[in-house]
Symmetry: C2
Subunit: 178 residues, 2 copies
């Protein structure tokens, strides 16, 4: 799962609440109970999750949190750098933890919805060449490769590229470095 994990990840996880509080204070914002609940819920996730799925879950909590707060707080967590936002198409955004993680791109299986991460410094480097040539300053980028994963191929799952639709549910996630 993306190289060495555990120790390093746990450390950043432990630091996250303090980092978020600092971020909030720096903006004159308050650390409220709903924000805390949402932060904790987000930190508990190791996968890619959507705002409304999280909102649904938290709405049923012993300490319910409203949909509006979930959306608002996820936006703050993104701005603070604790979460990263991804758009895999399909009309909804997904979030994943960012702290202590390095940049990576995604393979998205249109058969089962599984997401596999990958890193490729050479691709990144060539992107820099492209932007430089254009006088463009890159702020962020997104590279997603859609297709069929090994498991789906084995199962014989494949469809017409034109009619294949993007998964609305992110089923799982595999990490892969290089």
């Amino acid at each position: 799962m993306n190289g060495k994990d555990g120790g390093e990840r746990e450390m950043t996880r432990a630091q996250a609440p303090a980092a978020f509080e600092k971020f909030l204070r720096g903006r004159g914002l308050k650390l409220t109970r709903p924000r805390w609940v949402i932060l904790e819920a987000a930190l508990d996730r190791r996968d890619h999750f959507s705002a409304d799925e999280l909102a649904d879950r938290l709405r049923k909590n012993p300490r319910p949190v409203s949909k509006a707060s979930v959306y608002r707080t996820l936006a703050l967590l993104k701005e603070s750098g604790l979460l990263e936002e991804h758009d895999f198409g399909g009309g909804r955004k997904f979030y994943e933890q960012a702290l202590g993680r390095t940049h990576h791109d995604h393979l998205v299986c249109i058969g089962c919805g599984q997401i596999t991460e990958f890193q490729n410094p050479r691709i990144e480097h060539m992107q820099d060449q492209v932007t430089e040539r254009e006088g463009f300053v890159s702020v962020f980028h997104s590279l997603k490769i859609f297709g069929y994963c090994r498991a789906c191929r084995k199962r014989g799952v494949s469809a017409d590229p034109q009619t294949a639709h993007l998964p609305r549910e992110i089923v799982g996630i595999h990490g892969s470095t290089t």
Copy 2:
């Protein structure tokens, strides 16, 4: 604008209606007036356009076409391979002509919304390496680099990456090969 243009492009444009009709027939679908109107309108565009913008325009035509038909027909044009669909974020999809064009990726300026196209065979090649290594079969991919274009930089337009929002209006398009 993306290499040699004109002659070749015009040829494919002339062939497009026949190609679409063939596609429709192959599916037992009919070539109706609204579909024809929408096809022509789409072929007249050289830029990236959204469905609802086109629908708005056609709704005011001497021969009005309904929003529903525009959405339905653009989907068919995409399936037929005449149009390509892009999601630049911002909650709406954009279309561009695909016939006679080669694959390319996009630089999206978050300052002015301008889209610049680029091609880089080496990046494509490395993507192949990545998918192969994962046992993944690529069906399509999307590489978008968001940032500030040369013009925006000159104008001093730049914003906090976290608060920068994606353009809802695609302002223009520049092609660039390599």
